[in-house]
């Protein structure tokens, strides 16, 4: 039964040329320098994968850590190539690789997901600009730090590319597949007239060129045995792979590509190609289809519009960032009457489900109808009281979900605006100047409920913030606290699994967008004794209204009564996903349910470099605290955890290098020992002699030209490396020739004598060293 080691070794036989003449099977004992050749294949794969990813990211202006990505892709490409060292390494290696990859993918899944989406979103943004689209539906990024997420995601995509390319390059040098894999995706930025960085272009082109040349050269195959030669059906001999030639080909390829690219770049600078050409009619013809494709994915090709309008119906969490979709969701015909935003209420949340991270409505009737307030204002209007008015808003659903978009305060709380249709809402606005109080009415006690799971966090938060005073004061304090301490960001990062949305926002993440602020504020107000509820809908600012298209200066049919703005007109306003919003309604004893918008104004997004982001990652993202500010003066500061990780990484690299070196040194010795153990007496002598000769040849260059035993032994005796008489010399040569060329076994005594001769030099060297030490 063959051993595991030998199981895949193909038995080779000599090649018969004609009767009596054949190439001996020992021909196959010439070994390819597999580690080196695989290294070169790894380099080609690295050039292709890094070139491809680098081209895409640089063309799309995605920020990433180039050094990290290069290092990871280089080592993974080399590692993947080394999987073909032999069958055992391949089988075990792939298992290990997939296990490690799977484990790492699980560990970094959020980063991979988020980084990938970040790149996709950047692509969509570029598509939006180039294709002149109003807005794009973007993917949610769980991680706020795009730099880190993109780098990690691209590392993983790069490793996958390496694995894929390695299969086609290392085994079959399939340049067509390689070109398809690396070039197809890079046509996207080229379509948007974005050119990649030159360095990545060079890498990509060099990789493709080398793959093509290697394929054309026909010497690239990896066999189960690492023999240097193979035969075809006609018994022609073909060398398998030659490291020196490949190295020189690589050099030639690099020089050629650099030369060509340099000359052409001088003649036609890259800048002149950025959109300088008029688009041809064929490209123009594709733009509409491309726009649909980028906006809506494959569904866009079939005219399917799965737009959700940016509203989540009370569902929170699972979203790391807001991506502004500037597509028109609703078109509003309205008469401006106030400087305050116009809120269109679509969802009202009364009951918060902690950890499920969802707001539930009590009932449709109760949620969407501010009936008491509306009745009061309607009555006041009917009585022609001061600071009252009545208006009509026409809402056209362009691409928004089928829902009610109720203005404050409207009796039309059952009017759903379906996709593509319009609805007119009657409303009675309340002005700040109107101090008339709404008669008190009962409200459900749920509007004061705080889930048990949130209670302690809310309590601690309120205590720390020091909220106190009247309801108005508390509302102001909360808004002020938010403004000062909790930054608004459209990329706060997703709430981790098994975390509560509000707790995580208030106690850990401390940054967010409107849904965070409104949800938390709702519970805070409840804790402070103010009935409150969470509301989603659209908020249209005064500026937006002013920027709208004036339809008619005569707005008599749309508005009647007091207006803070005086005489205005009928305006058409396009409402997009960017206007989707969340706010709070609090119950005021005097005015009933009133809108409170606690969301602070947006600030500038922080940009961080990779390593600080990396540190941030290991420090749980807490880099904005005061301690950091105190210590961060005058230079680079790396946390202990990072240092520990760096140290482990360095040590790991060191030990891996040591291991590789050990294998490099030990494997040939072990293989020699195994072969020696298995060999007959003749082969043993030949092996020992060859080993001796290899050693001596390093210092004795002329010996390299001595081709046969006689010449070699004569040279060795002339140089005094082996001492023997003429007769002994003849016998030694005869013994060697018999051992090397004859089927008959040499005598034990002859073998022992021959080995003695070979040991003479070692003995002499030892003596020489001893003498030197004595001197």
């Amino acid at each position: 039964m063959p051993s595991l080691w030998n199981r895949n070794k193909k038995k080779v036989s000599g090649i018969a040329l004609c009767p009596g003449i054949s190439i001996d099977e020992s021909f196959y004992e010439m070994k390819e320098k597999r580690l080196k050749t695989l290294f070169m294949k790894g380099v080609i794969v690295y050039l292709l994968s890094m070139g491809s990813i680098g081209c895409y990211l640089s063309a799309m202006d995605c920020e990433f850590s180039a050094i990290t990505l290069n290092i990871i892709l280089f080592f993974s490409a080399i590692g993947c190539a080394y999987l073909y060292y032999n069958r055992i390494v391949e089988n075990v290696g792939y298992l290990f690789l997939f296990a490690a990859f799977f484990g790492a993918a699980i560990l970094f899944r959020d980063y991979i997901n988020s980084g990938f989406y970040a790149v996709v979103n950047d692509t969509l943004e570029e598509a939006a600009i180039y294709l002149d689209m109003e807005g794009m539906q973007q993917y949610n990024e769980r991680i706020s730090n795009r730099y880190l997420a993109v780098t990690i995601a691209m590392c993983f995509i790069g490793i996958v590319t390496n694995i894929l390319l390695n299969v086609y390059i290392s085994r079959r040098m399939q340049y067509i597949v390689a070109i398809v894999v690396v070039m197809t995706v890079n046509l996207v930025p080229l379509y948007f007239e974005h050119e990649p960085d030159t360095i990545y272009s060079l890498m990509l082109l060099t990789g493709i060129t080398l793959t093509y040349i290697m394929k054309s050269g026909q010497h690239y195959k990896v066999h189960t045995t690492d023999q240097a030669f193979e035969t075809d059906k006609k018994n022609n001999l073909k060398y398998v792979y030659n490291i020196r030639s490949v190295r020189q080909t690589l050099l030639l390829g690099v020089i050629y590509v650099i030369l060509c690219v340099s000359v052409m770049s001088l003649a036609f600078p890259k800048d002149t190609y950025d959109g300088s050409f008029p688009d041809n009619k064929y490209k123009m013809a594709t733009m509409e289809t491309a726009a649909n494709l980028f906006a809506l994915g494959l569904a866009g090709l079939f005219n399917f519009y799965p737009n959700t309008g940016g509203l989540n119906g009370g569902t929170l969490g699972g979203v790391s960032s807001i991506h502004l979709d500037y597509n028109t969701d609703l078109t509003l015909h309205v008469t401006p009457y106030s400087y305050e935003p116009i809120y269109l209420k679509s969802f009202t949340g009364a009951v918060y489900l902690p950890y499920t991270n969802k707001w539930l409505s009590l009932s449709e009737e109760d949620e969407k109808n501010n009936a008491y307030e509306e009745d009061f204002l309607e009555d006041a209007y009917e009585k022609h009281e001061k600071y009252t008015a009545k208006g009509y808003m026409e809402v056209l659903n362009v691409e928004a979900p089928n829902a009610i978009y109720l203005p404050y305060y409207s009796p039309d709380h059952i009017k759903t605006v379906y996709y593509g249709s319009r609805a007119t809402y009657e409303y009675y606005p309340r002005f700040a100047a109107n101090t008339e109080e709404v008669p008190a009415h009962d409200i459900p006690e749920q509007y004061l409920d705080i889930p048990e799971e949130n209670f302690s966090v809310i309590r601690n938060f309120c205590r720390e913030a020091g909220f106190s005073g009247t309801d108005d004061e508390i509302i102001e304090q909360v808004a002020a606290y938010y403004q000062e301490n909790i930054p608004y960001t459209i990329r706060p990062g997703a709430t981790p699994r098994r975390e509560d949305f509000i707790n995580y926002f208030l106690s850990e993440n401390k940054k967010g967008y409107c849904a965070h602020f409104a949800s938390a504020a709702t519970l805070i107000f409840r804790y402070m004794g103010i009935p409150a509820r969470y509301v989603e809908g659209y908020a249209v600012s005064y500026n937006q209204i002013v920027d709208g298209e004036l339809l008619n200066e005569d707005y008599g049919d749309y508005y009647d009564g007091y207006s803070e703005l005086g005489k205005t007109g009928l305006v058409e306003v396009n409402i997009t996903d960017a206007d989707a919003h969340a706010w709070v309604e609090v119950y005021d004893d005097r005015y009933g349910w009133v809108v409170v918008d606690p969301t602070p104004a947006a600030g500038e997004e922080d940009t961080v470099d990779f390593w600080s982001a990396f540190q941030d990652f290991f420090d749980d993202g807490d880099t904005d605290n005061a301690e950091d500010d105190d210590q961060g003066v005058g230079g680079l500061r790396i946390g202990d955890d990072v240092m520990r990780i760096v140290a482990i990484a360095v040590l790991s690299v060191f030990f891996i290098a040591l291991l590789i070196l050990g294998i490099w040194v030990l494997v040939p010795r072990i293989r020699y020992a195994i072969a020696y153990h298995r060999a007959g007496i003749n082969d043993r002598l030949v092996m020992q002699y060859n080993r001796y000769l290899r050693k001596v040849r390093k210092s004795e260059k002329p010996l390299q030209d001595k081709m046969n035993y006689r010449e070699q032994i004569e040279y060795l005796t002339e140089q005094g490396m082996i001492s023997m008489t003429e007769e002994e010399k003849e016998k030694f040569i005869d013994t060697l020739q018999e051992a090397g060329f004859s089927d008959r076994e040499i005598a034990e005594a002859d073998y022992a004598q021959a080995v003695e001769y070979l040991k003479q030099k070692e003995a002499k060297d030892r003596q020489k060293a001893r003498n030197k030490r004595k001197d």
């Binding site: 040329l17 081209c55 026909q218 022609n236």
Partner: protein
């Protein structure tokens, strides 16, 4: 000498180039312009470099050992010398292998890497299982350009030769029936003090003659010392005629036995005359062997003769051309294997 053009590869390359040009026309990208330029320039450069390289390349063929033993492994070294700074991933040498004695031959292509500015050497271990003069000839070299479009040929015609001699320790030594009998008698005679010679003449004693040569009986009759003038019989009895007739396997067997016999005799310090019928010259090749080197030289000459079909003619030729040889050892095929037969000529 015609060069080979690989149209398939050119067509695929053309398709790829056409796709690139189309994409460039569609996208007007700088990157695609670079790719287009690379693709346009590469074939021209590749073919020009291949022409240049073909002119620069030279080949050496070496067989370090001129005499090798049958069934042993000898080496042939193929060296591609490249003084230029251009390399090729595929240079093929057409290697013609021929046994000049048996006229068996074959050609193979040996594909070698060719590094820039240096020699690329490959050693082929050849196992030679039949005697003869083996000639290795590199007939031409073929340089494949880097893109694999053309294979440019260059005439070389360089040779190296190796004489394959029968192995020293022959396991099946064939039948030595008659020869062994005769030879044992000779040895015995030597041991008894006889010198294995014949009386050529009887003459008067000359001082210095050996006592044992005195013909006592005749001396007594004539009353004068008479001695027997002896002539060595070695040149007659140690003549070996080898038969180069039959199939190549039979001849190989025969000459192996011949070699073994001759070598054994030479090692016993016995003078040997080796004869064979030279078909080309229509005469017996007559070789006097005093040493192993003489034996090797004789075999080297034998390998340039040709084998023939009729095994009977040499005995007749011996009788008519060399009648003075009263007896010789005839090494020939007998009952399907090589044998040494003592032939006495009347």
């Amino acid at each position: 000498m015609k060069n080979v053009i690989h149209f398939g590869r050119i067509i695929i390359y053309g398709i790829l180039f056409a796709i690139t040009v189309s994409l460039y026309g569609f996208l007007h990208s700088h990157l695609l312009l670079m790719i287009m330029t690379l693709m346009a320039a590469a074939p021209v450069l590749s073919v020009l470099l291949a022409f240049y390289l073909r002119n620069k390349l030279s080949v050496r063929i070496l067989a370090p050992e001129s005499d090798v033993l049958r069934h042993s492994v000898s080496y042939v070294s193929l060296v591609v010398q490249n003084p230029s700074y251009i390399m090729s991933l595929d240079v093929k040498l057409k290697l013609h292998v021929q046994n000049l004695f048996y006229h068996t031959e074959n050609s193979i292509l040996v594909s070698l890497p060719t590094r820039m500015h240096g020699d690329s050497e490959t050693m082929l271990p050849m196992r030679l299982t039949m005697n003869g003069a083996v000639q290795y000839t590199v007939e031409d070299l073929r340089v494949l350009d880097l893109l694999g479009f053309v294979e440019l040929k260059k005439k070389v015609n360089l040779s190296a030769e190796v004489n394959v001699l029968p192995e020293r320790n022959r396991k099946e030594q064939g039948s030595l029936s008659d020869f062994s009998g005769g030879f044992t008698e000779t040895e015995e005679n030597n041991k008894r003090g006889n010198d294995f010679s014949d009386v050529n003449d009887v003459r008067e004693y000359i001082p210095g003659d050996r006592l044992m040569s005195i013909h006592w009986k005749l001396s007594a009759k004539r009353d004068i010392l008479m001695v027997k003038d002896r002539v060595s019989m070695s040149d007659q009895q140690m003549v070996i005629l080898t038969e180069l007739a039959g199939s190549i396997e039979e001849v190989d067997d025969t000459i192996s036995l011949t070699y073994h016999l001759c070598r054994s005799l030479i090692e016993e310090k016995i003078f040997v005359r080796l004869l064979w019928w030279s078909e080309g010259r229509s005469e017996f090749a007559d070789n006097r062997l005093f040493s192993i080197d003489d034996l090797k030289d004789a075999f080297s000459r034998m390998y340039y003769d040709t084998i023939y079909a009729d095994p009977e003619k040499t005995v007749a030729y011996m009788r008519s051309i060399k009648p003075e040889l009263k007896a010789y050892v005839h090494v020939c095929q007998k009952e399907g294997k090589a044998d040494a037969v003592i032939v006495e000529q009347e």
